[in-house]
Each structure stands twice: as C-alpha cells, then as structure tokens.
C-alpha cells in the first residue's frame, strides 16, 4: 500500500513557497520535492511537523492508497 499526500496542494492553496517551508521545517528543498512527488515518505517526526505547520489533521494530508 502506498502513502499518498496532498502537501503540494495544501502548500499552493496557502501560498507558501518551497523555500519558506524548508526554512520553517528545517528540511531541504530536495526533500520537499521528493515528498510532494511521492518519492520519499517523511518520518513520523516530519509528518507531525507538517501537520502543525499547515494546521490540518493527519488524514487531510496523508492517505493510504489501497492496491
């Protein structure tokens, strides 16, 4: 089962750039790209940081894709 996320969608809706997000969460821009393109699943720590940063619930960002 694949983990899908709506980070890019939420980020763009809130008008946040990748650089701003990278600075706020102390991660690299490459990591944001990898997460947004579903090439890397963030750790639980980063996932919780993302939830706090965007002020949304877990299932608003991450969903488990049924195969």
């Amino acid at each position: 089962m694949k983990v899908r996320n709506r980070i890019k969608e939420i980020r763009l809706a809130k008008g946040i750039s990748q650089i701003e997000m990278a600075e706020a969460l102390q991660i690299t821009r490459q990591t944001i790209n990898a997460v947004e393109n579903h090439k890397y699943n963030p750790s639980l720590e980063l996932a919780l940081k993302l939830i706090k940063y965007f002020n949304v619930t877990l299932d608003e960002i991450f969903t488990l894709e049924e195969e």
Partner: protein
C-alpha cells in the same frame, strides 16, 4: 553546533600527536622538515575546510539546512550498498588474482587499494549528500 570546531580541533591535535609519536617510533631519525610540513599541511587543510564552510554560509541567503533526515537515510543506504560492493568486490578481486596465479599481495598494493576504496566512498558520500 558551536562545539563542532572545538571537537574538530581537538581531533586534529590528537591525531597529529599520535601520528608524530608513531612516526618517531617507526622512523627514529625523522627529519624536522617533514614533521613541520606535516603540521603546516594539517593546519592549512583544516583552515581551507573551515574557510570554505564560512564562505558558503555567508554566500547562502536563506536559512535552509544542507542536510536533513532524507540525506541521512540516503547516506545510510549508500554505506550499506557500498559495504556489500566493497566486500564482494574485494572477494572477487582476490579470486581473480588467485586465478591468474598471484600468490602474495604486497602491503603497499593493499594500502593503495584501501586508499582508493576510502576515496571512492568519500566521493560517493558527497554525491549522495547533494541528491
């Protein structure tokens, strides 16, 4: 992060002391010029590294880190893979050498092989770090 320069400086001084002690032990009449060149080389090397780090920090306009959790995962995966490649590659090399009739390996050749291996791993780490 402020403590890193102190740790690096202590490590360099300790390594240099051990190196000098071993050097004196192995080659009792070690020329003073060689020792001085070694010390100056180490100090200049560390200076260049620190200078480059400071220069890059000043040039970078944002507060985005160079390394994060994904970088560490990538580096760990690279080390796991390179361990297998180094082990199986070395075994293969020994087999090939044995097959072509080589019965002994010189320590000099072995040290060059290990040096090349370490250099490849260091270069690989930098490449993986930037991905």
């Amino acid at each position: 992060m402020k403590k890193w320069p102190i740790i690096i400086a202590i490590t360099v001084v300790c390594s240099m002391s051990i190196g000098l002690y071993l050097g004196k032990l192995l080659v009792p009449d070690l020329p003073v010029g060689t020792v001085v060149a070694g010390i100056i080389g180490s100090v200049v090397g560390v200076g260049i590294v620190f200078g480059t780090i400071k220069f890059r920090e000043k040039r970078k306009g944002d507060n985005v880190p160079d390394v994060d959790e994904r970088t560490w995962v990538n580096i760990k995966n690279f080390y796991a893979l390179s361990l297998y490649i180094a082990l199986f590659g070395s075994m293969l090399l020994v087999c090939v050498l044995f097959a072509i009739g080589v019965e002994t390996i010189e320590i000099g050749a072995l040290s060059i092989y290990l040096l090349a291996l370490f250099m490849l791993i260091v270069v690989g780490t930098f490449v993986v770090k930037r991905k």
